[in-house]
């Protein structure tokens, strides 16, 4: 089971309403390389991982991604909660408002809804771990594009933290892949 800790993993602050930035950042909530995709990808692949290190890494990284999803949600929520209708209209969030008001919803930066096709679960640990390493690099790149776009230094600070986490996850998945490969090589001899 899971427990909820009543705090964010990293403090979130925004300088003021900014629907334009929210509209872009929301892709890390419900986009292909976003935190929901990441969390579900790892938490669903863990069942068929062959070694304890891999089961641990996927459980723990999948859980950390949920905390990142919460950080992204807190950013989007705070960037739009006090935005006026005029601001939402001026920054292209009128379509989002028509469907969701200022509620959170799993979409990418251009409004496409989240889909399970964003993730893979192949049952082959080598394929799955390569998928995860690529996913971490894609998430890192997305955070870099978002940092390039951001005009709010407080938001940029949180985006930098999230970018750094993808680098650490990539590293841990690389180690997990090596351990699985060693395990497979050992198996061949018996």
């Amino acid at each position: 089971m899971w427990l909820y800790e009543k705090k964010l993993q990293y403090p979130v602050r925004v300088s003021g309403p900014n629907p334009w930035l929210a509209k872009n950042i929301i892709t890390q909530y419900g986009g292909p390389d976003g935190e929901l995709s990441a969390s579900l990808r790892y938490l669903t692949q863990r069942y068929t991982m062959p070694i304890p290190e891999a089961k641990g890494a996927l459980t723990d990284i999948g859980t950390e991604e949920l905390a990142h999803m919460e950080i992204v949600a807190a950013l989007v929520y705070n960037l739009i909660k006090d935005a006026t209708l005029e601001q939402l209209k001026a920054h292209g969030m009128d379509g989002y408002y028509a469907d969701h008001d200022r509620a959170l919803y799993f979409v990418d930066a251009t409004g496409n809804p989240w889909t399970a096709t964003y993730i893979q679960s192949k049952g082959d640990p080598i394929a799955d771990l390569h998928e995860n390493m690529a996913a971490e690099e894609k998430a890192r790149a997305t955070y870099e594009w978002l940092i390039n776009l951001s005009d709010d230094p407080l938001v940029t600070d949180a985006l930098r933290f999230l970018r750094m986490r993808e680098i650490v996850h990539f590293q841990r998945f690389g180690e997990t892949l090596r351990l699985v490969q060693e395990w497979m090589d050992r198996k061949k001899f018996f």
Binding site: K6, K7, L8, Y10, R13, N78, R172
Partner: protein, 85 residues
């Protein structure tokens, strides 16, 4: 949110992060005795700080992981997404 509450929470958040980082590292390096020692030390510090926070401000974790005064403190605002640090 009062200043000393925020400061204590930020301390817990920093320590929590250290524990998480060590945890992920240990997942793929389970025989690194030094990292394990660090993990256990941070866990102990975290336990004490959480205790202190929960005594003053109510449960930080639900489902039987922290005591509550009357009335039920778990639902007290602010929730994490409402905290502006």
């Amino acid at each position: 949110m009062q200043r000393d509450r925020r400061e204590l929470l930020l301390k817990i958040m920093a320590l929590d992060f250290t524990a998480l980082e060590l945890n992920l590292y240990l997942d793929t390096h389970p025989r690194d005795a030094r990292a394990l020692e660090d993990y256990n030390r941070v866990t102990q510090e975290l336990f004490a700080l959480r205790q202190e926070y929960q005594e003053r401000y109510g449960p930080l974790i639900h489902f039987g992981h922290g005591y509550s005064k009357y009335p039920w403190q778990w639902i007290e605002e602010p929730w994490p997404w409402e905290m502006t640090f």
